[in-house]
Symmetry: C2
Subunit: 354 residues, 2 copies
């Protein structure tokens, strides 16, 4: 790793002299920040890189013959409490899910708090109790932590970082690099609930049946999938940027095309209604308890059956296929035969939903 690294020249980031909200939004600007600044800076001389190439929700490092998955996530969601969850619940599930997306069995989490002076102690207690409850439900201990306090006006109540470590079982190799033309794409349930739940509080919306966040651990579901078929090619949870961002990234890294069947994508009535009201596209809205699985076509029905038995996969469906055609591009096929390209948004639809 040369130490004379100077990233100030060849980056497209030059377009923005300052950090924009969209740099954290899961869209093209965030991708540019990661690929233009972070990856080149943290890539080692041997070509191994931050988040390995192709990027992944967890890094996997070899320790004494075991493959240890390692991941980190900061949570800045606003407000701290929302229908169906809170920042603590989210912080535990989010990091557990990042481990699960590498096929890893979670072993332990860290919890680091950045508190703003003046935060009600009762708020902290409620969030900590929620983290405890969620960690107990998932069966993953919180083993280490840190606390910082910043002056009033220099934070926003509470930010939480959780990092996690897990073990990838022998025989499991889950990565965008393994996606192959012909793979079936399975989706575990309906889209858009988390983002809409958070936005509904923030915008003070009250409409019939405000959806609850789908925020949930996917570790149990992934454990069942891997037990049933260790040959799953790729898993991805559908957080910032939603299903669209997840598929665009995978298509780009795996150099496959993706065809998505619009009619098969489940979106509930309240989410569809709220999206219309707010001018959002449910394909891009964040979820915190949904995943896509890329699996060999011949295994698709069997794996769908395993999903069907699992509470974390309320409405599993096959939503598309990886193709040799149009590598790097995701196409949405409408019921009437129309096609449109699904691209990364440059900015984001909704800031601070995680």
């Amino acid at each position: 790793m040369p130490t004379d690294f100077n990233p100030s020249c060849p980056l497209p980031l030059a377009d923005h002299a300052t950090v924009q909200l969209a740099h954290g939004g899961g869209g093209r600007l965030m991708q540019e920040l990661i690929e233009g600044l972070f990856l080149p800076a943290f890539r080692a001389d041997d070509g191994s890189a931050l988040e390995e190439a192709p990027p992944h929700d967890s890094a996997v490092v070899e320790i004494g013959g075991s493959r240890v998955a390692f991941t980190t996530d900061s949570f800045t969601v606003s407000p701290l409490f929302f229908p169906g969850g809170d920042i603590g619940h989210l912080a535990v599930c989010g990091t557990v899910n990042d481990l699960a997306m590498a096929g890893a069995k979670p072993v332990g989490l860290s919890a680091a708090f950045i508190l703003e002076e003046g935060l009600p102690m009762e708020t902290l207690r409620r969030v900590v109790a929620s983290m405890r409850r969620t960690a107990a439900e998932v069966g993953v201990p919180i083993v280490t932590g840190d606390t910082k306090v910043v002056d009033r006006g220099k934070g926003d109540g509470m930010f939480i970082n959780t990092a996690g470590i897990g073990v990838v079982p022998d025989g499991v190799d889950i990565s965008p690099a393994r996606v192959t033309p012909g793979d079936a794409i399975l989706l575990s349930g309906d889209l858009g609930r988390h983002g809409i739940a958070v936005m509904s509080v923030r915008e003070g919306l009250s409409f019939e049946g405000v959806p609850k966040s789908d925020c949930a651990s996917l570790a149990g579901l992934v454990g069942s999938l891997v037990d049933a078929d260790p040959d799953i090619h790729c898993l991805r949870d559908l957080t910032r940027g939603g299903l669209a961002a997840a598929l665009c990234e995978i298509a780009g890294h795996a150099r496959v095309g993706i065809e998505l069947r619009e009619a098969s994508i489940p979106v509930t009535e309240p989410v569809a209604g709220a999206c219309e009201l707010l001018g959002l596209d449910p394909l891009y809205v964040a979820n915190e308890g949904r995943l896509v699985a890329f699996v060999p076509a011949e295994a698709a029905e069997r794996i769908l059956d395993v999903m069907r038995g699992h509470p974390a996969a309320p409405e599993p469906v096959i939503v598309g296929t990886a193709t040799e055609d149009h590598p790097g591009t995701v196409e949405l096929c409408s019921p009437l035969g129309g096609r449109r390209i699904v691209d990364l948004l440059s900015g984001e639809q909704m800031p601070r939903i995680c």
Copy 2:
């Protein structure tokens, strides 16, 4: 882990209805927050706990026969750049040092950024370049990361969380629980530079020879110490709360007394002068590149010799002894034979120095 945990009753935290700056200051209030709220919440039914009992800078978990150390630290230092370092340098060294304090050889770090909208991109570039440089010098790759952006006025430029994993070599068992009456206490160098360096910028002080932060990786030093004598009992870096807080914590957890010889504690002239000016006690000022080692008395001189050869231990000295007398209490012995008790401060001398 029962899920009906309700931490709102038996805590001394009731004294404070809101979070105070001092809850992050490394003193008694932070200890109360950790022991009153976080530890009970995250302790498992089998008695195993967050940061193990007694607390430690890293948790150690068993993975496939290896002992994996795991730690996390958020950095909120203000200002982002200070004499001798910056938040990026600090974020890499701080977490590497937490791993080293468990005797672990660092394997990989994560880097999670919480950026404030409007942060100059050039500031981010400089910090990232500093992290890259430091990680390369230490020889620890940054393997995974995360980026969040919060709205203007809801952050303070940049916060960074680094988590780290490492491997504890066979035969090494470093923990406060191993401290024994009779142990010699070795200090690796002069005190107070980091805190004073940060404060000098913040307070706009300009005096002769403003000290540079001592911020540095201790991983190489610890590697040499452990190679020379795997039987080192306890290591602790002297961050928030300084030497005083580190020794008070160890005395409390190991149930030993500690006698500290005032005359042997190295403090440079500029640090002593700045402390007088600012009304600070160098015993409590934060360091980011200093450690104490508790070692069997008969090994003390040999280990001191190893320290002497190492650039990360500029002025190693024996500063005291663990005793059977006054367990849990640290006493400072003056050159004239006076004694005073060194206690945790309830608050903190200096907010946001790390």
